[in-house]
């Protein structure tokens, strides 16, 4: 008895995802008919070669990036909430995104200041991804070490915020010593952007995303025992330290790689897990992980479509859109449901 089935929800979500993917690809300053888009996606030639280029080299990579970023950040958020047993946890709140920013700042701005090797690395997409993941991991590790000492989750969140502030301050110092061109490059990165990724960079992104997901499949059981607290988890035979480290590494990787390629994107990591938990009404990670991944992709695609400002040639910074759309949704959900869970 009572093994709930979620097939219906997953089919609906997948359908919505495909629809949004098409909507995202069809929206932009150049109007392309939907049958042409499908033809191009299926590998047929289009009547206009410029359409072909627009779809395959601009819109499709962007839509894929949106999906990877959305689901990556959402999964990272879910992992943080379960690990810290706190609904407020998320890559941003714990300063992990700031850590990733610091990694990128050191690379982009530091290249100007220190020159040499950094300049070479900063041009490679792997370099950006690694620097940003390292930055994320360092802050996460610092939060975790202090978390081990204080244990009180409220203190942990405040400590996370403090680490975030410190990294922002370090970035400010870097900015102060950098020249205008580098600063501009960094500021634009900070607005967040889903475009501008080459297929090569998307491949790097996808490989890291895939490794993370495959590793996560092995920690679904430990994640579920964490719902009972560490002592119960341990008494169920779970090696707390090992699994916590795996979860932390995955979180840093996912946060690091998304931040490297798309800039620091707010809100998604905190909100999507909550929206998912409200929709699916479960805490089982076997259900939550795929659900969060799909819903995260859907929500970022919606944000992307909105950011295009349909029928206009402007594009809003994605970072602004995620917060503008997302925050009201979360507030509305919370006011309606009144209760929030990890």
């Amino acid at each position: 008895m009572i093994q709930k089935s979620y097939t219906k929800q997953f089919i609906t979500l997948s359908f919505v995802l495909v629809m949004l993917l098409l909507l995202s690809i069809s929206s932009g300053s150049v109007a392309i008919p939907i049958d042409e888009i499908i033809a191009i996606l299926l590998g047929n030639n289009s009547s206009k070669s410029s359409w072909y280029t627009i779809i395959l080299h601009f819109r499709l990579p962007k839509a894929i990036t949106a999906m990877l970023v959305g689901s990556g950040l959402s999964i990272a958020g879910l992992l943080m909430q379960t690990l810290f047993k706190n609904p407020l946890a998320g890559p941003f709140v714990l300063g992990i995104s700031s850590g990733a920013s610091l990694g990128v700042a050191i690379l982009i701005l530091g290249a100007g200041i220190f020159g040499g090797v950094l300049t070479v690395i900063s041009f490679s997409s792997w370099g950006l991804a690694i620097a940003s993941s390292l930055g994320a991991a360092i802050v996460l590790l610092a939060v975790l070490i202090t978390a081990h000492k204080v244990r009180n989750t409220m203190s942990i969140l405040i400590i996370g915020l403090m680490f975030g502030t410190v990294t922002s301050a370090i970035i400010s110092v870097f900015t102060f010593f950098s020249d205008a061109e580098k600063i501009q490059q960094f500021i634009f990165w900070g607005f967040g952007s889903l475009g501008n990724l080459s297929w090569n960079e998307i491949l790097v992104f996808f490989i890291i995303y895939l490794i993370s997901i495959l590793t996560l499949l092995n920690v679904i059981k430990p994640l579920n025992t964490f719902l009972l607290g560490e002592n119960y988890a341990k008494s169920l035979g779970i090696n707390i330290k090992k699994n916590r480290n795996i979860i932390l590494i995955i979180t840093s990787l996912l946060t690091g790689v998304t931040t490297a390629f798309a800039g620091p994107i707010a809100f998604i990591g905190l909100a999507v897990p909550h929206i998912t938990k409200l929709v699916f009404k479960t805490s089982d990670h076997k259900i939550l992980l795929p659900a969060v991944a799909i819903l995260g992709a859907i929500i970022l695609l919606i944000c992307d479509v909105v950011a295009q400002l349909p029928t206009s040639e402007f594009t809003l910074p994605i970072n602004a859109v995620t917060s503008l759309i997302g925050a009201p949704i979360v507030i509305w959900l919370l006011v309606r449901k009144k209760k929030i869970y990890i």
């Binding site: 059981k221 719902l227 002592n231 119960y232 008494s235 089982d284």
Partner: protein, 265 residues
């Protein structure tokens, strides 16, 4: 050797307490006890005397300062966490994090040591879960979220989770801490019944001394001076219950076999 195999739990010269880097604070010394299958055991003592510490040390969650704990005849150190999880289950006092787990899912987590890599429940697992829910009379709660339950219901659900874990030993830390008299007695009766019907070793820490004296088979008394173990008869004969609390406030009455409040003269 053969005698130690029949003991479910045995300790030899066990020192319990907390260790942090160089500083060691020992709470109780020289604990040597033997507990058997089917025993319902009460760990009694005043606040801060080390009941929970002893329970955690017996469960392997906390390390002993010195001395040895034997589970089913083998030193607890020789088991892996995974092996221990099919020998000992826990019911703790700590509040569960606020998740959306249903009662059924919570009890099902007890099957984790036996399920495959993704936690799929096989027929044997669901049978055990249903049995645990029936034993604890929580079947009707199965679809509810655990955080909607009353304290008494939640306690029975947590016991069901421990039962689903299918271990020889169940350790419970103050299982009646937040319960009224009715639910407290209900839990005591349930644990007593389970120890007899399933032949499990069930060990609880409790402040319900009078209830425990009337239902437990064995006692571990933690006093300021020493740790004494035995059954009711031997402990009464040796006047050991007298040392549990300060006699100015509470006295043990041997005729009633109950603790009573000392009348002010």
């Amino acid at each position: 050797m053969s005698s130690s195999v029949t003991n479910s739990i045995e300790t030899k010269m066990l020192h319990i307490g907390y260790q942090q880097k160089k500083s060691v604070s020992t709470i109780q010394k020289n604990i040597s006890i033997q507990l058997h299958k089917g025993d319902f055991v009460g760990i009694l003592g005043k606040n801060g005397i080390g009941k929970s510490t002893l329970l955690r040390t017996l469960s392997g969650v906390q390390d002993a300062i010195s001395g040895e704990v034997f589970i089913e005849g083998e030193n607890i150190q020789s088991y892996s966490l995974k092996e221990l999880s099919s020998l000992i289950s826990l019911v703790l006092t700590e509040r569960l994090p606020e998740s959306q787990l249903s009662v059924y899912e919570l009890v099902a987590l007890g099957r984790q040591p036996y399920t495959n890599w993704i936690g799929k429940l096989e027929k044997k697992d669901t049978e055990k879960i249903n049995w645990a829910l029936e034993q604890t009379e929580t079947m009707s709660l199965a679809n509810r979220h655990f955080n909607e339950l009353s304290d008494g219901q939640l306690q029975r659900v947590l016991i069901a989770r421990a039962l689903a874990q299918d271990t020889q030993i169940i350790l419970l830390d103050e299982p009646t801490a937040h319960l009224d008299m009715h639910h407290t007695i209900k839990i005591f009766k349930l644990l007593k019944k389970l120890s007899k019907e399933t032949n499990k070793t069930i060990i609880i820490t409790t402040h319900e001394v009078n209830l425990a004296i009337n239902s437990a088979d064995q006692f571990i008394l933690l006093t300021d001076k020493e740790v004494i173990a035995g059954n009711k008869k031997t402990l009464i004969e040796s006047n050991s219950f007298d040392h549990l609390f300060s006699s100015e406030i509470i006295n043990f009455n041997t005729n009633l076999e109950q603790f009573i409040v000392t009348k002010e003269s």
